[in-house]
Amino acid sequence: MKLLKSIQAEWLKSKKSIIIWLLIFGSLAINLVVLFIYLFAQESIITLYTNPWESFIGRNLKSFTLFFWVPFLIILTSAFINIEHKANNWKSLFTLPVLSKTILRSKLIILIAFTIGVLLVYLVSLFLFPVIINLIHPEYEFFLSSVNFLEIILAFIKLFFLSLGIISIQFILSLFFKNQIISIGIGFVLFIIGFIVNIQDIHLSNYFPYSFPSFFDTEFVWTSYSISIALFIISIMFISSRKTVVLVND
């Protein structure tokens, strides 16, 4: 019951903050760019692909997972925790008749809910935007081709699980560092390392959480999923071990 109340409070804090704009941006940014390309550069696209769905979704997901998703998660997590740092509110939160682990768990839960929400809106727009494009430019022939919805939905579920490790690491970093430049900075360095590891050694990238989202559509690699989920469980255990003492250097 206290967890539900705490989740409700987290939502009230977030709903009028920059978080909502970040969620909208995260859900639609890449899709809008690709939509723009389709509306204004249709000739080159039509000649390149046989199936317009494969073209649209392929372009979209490549940009999304390679360049957008990890930095977005880093910024989202940091901005979300920063609501509390900015208000200098940890000392007040931890003098509430609610256990600090309940408060921290509720934060993690709502962050996960935000992530799922962004992925869901992105997924829906991935199927909706081609319809809009087709209404303006019927020559793309989206309605004459088919798409394997189930395969794409499955890929998104995989992407979600592969993202849990990054969310967990960034969550703990953001709690510890009041200055969000530090948590974002560390996150970006790890993202760049992940990118390099991905290019240099695809096998090594199976062990590096910040590389995981880039291969969500490849074959199922148990190691990566296990590491991601293990990091998530470790983060829950870590925040649950906190009792009455302030977690951050407030």
């Binding site: 109340k5 409070a9 009028k16 900015k86 208000a87 509110n89 000392k91 003098t95 009455t244 302030v246």
Partner: protein
């Protein structure tokens, strides 16, 4: 006055590093139903003591009892009866004062009636719908106290609540605290200003360099021929 202690601090040791103790074998008693003035110069350990009492700092040695049990034994119950304002008020600047109260109300199960009651009690109706980032120091301070009052506390801990308030604001706050105390709320108010404590407190605790110098009813402090200020300064010089 009921002299049953609401807070009992026994042989408390605390330091941010092992070399330097902020609280050095400090013992203190806060009787129920009083206005307790916690007096000490800057850096004496007042805020640290209040943080230890509220469980915001892990104590190394000693024991703190609130409402007859320690925080470790009965945390949720104790904190549901304790309102606190430590250092500056913690507010979400992007939200209005009312929304800040709403959030706090969710945590402590307070209803709209209680929210409206504290708004009226602290005379905040004219600014409560504005965003907190536009508030003056006095407005923030009042909202901070309102947040502490939301859980209908039996114990109210205020750490230097008059900081940044103008003389009118200080006088209003004094009246409010006296009124709350008359309703049965025990109030701890810390300050480094003797004159401020003198006007409001019925019980006194003086600390200096982490040690308790005096802990008794204020009239026992002034029984001597020398006035309170001289006595206070003299006490501070001793250590």
């Amino acid at each position: 006055m009921n002299q049953q202690p609401i807070i009992k601090v026994e042989n408390l040791h605390f330091g941010y590093s092992k070399k330097e103790l902020i609280l050095d074998n400090l013992s203190m008693v806060v009787p129920a139903n009083c206005i307790f003035g916690l007096l000490g110069s800057n850096g004496a350990g007042k805020t640290t003591l209040l943080k230890c009492i509220l469980g915001l700092q892990k104590i190394e040695k000693g024991r703190i009892t609130l409402f007859t049990s320690s925080l470790d034994e009965n945390r949720s119950n104790i904190l549901s009866k304790t309102g606190a304002l430590i250092e500056s008020p913690s507010l979400y600047g992007h939200l209005s004062g009312f929304e800040n109260l709403k959030i706090a109300a969710v945590y402590v199960n307070a209803n709209n009636e209680t929210i409206n009651k504290v708004i009226l009690q602290l005379d905040m109706s004219h600014f409560i719908q504005k965003k907190c980032k536009t508030y003056s120091t006095g407005m923030k301070q009042r909202l901070g106290i309102a947040l502490a009052l939301l859980r209908n506390p039996e114990l109210l801990i205020l750490d230097e609540p008059t900081n940044g308030l103008d003389p009118n604001g200080i006088a209003d706050l004094r009246m409010l605290l006296k009124q709350l105390n008359s309703e049965g709320i025990t109030i701890i108010i810390s300050s480094h200003l003797l004159s401020e404590i003198e006007k409001i407190a019925s019980y006194l605790g003086i600390i200096n360099k982490g040690k308790c110098l005096f802990n008794d009813a204020i009239e026992n402090f002034t029984k001597t021929e020398i006035d309170l200020e001289t006595q206070y300064l003299k006490n501070n010089e001793i250590t």
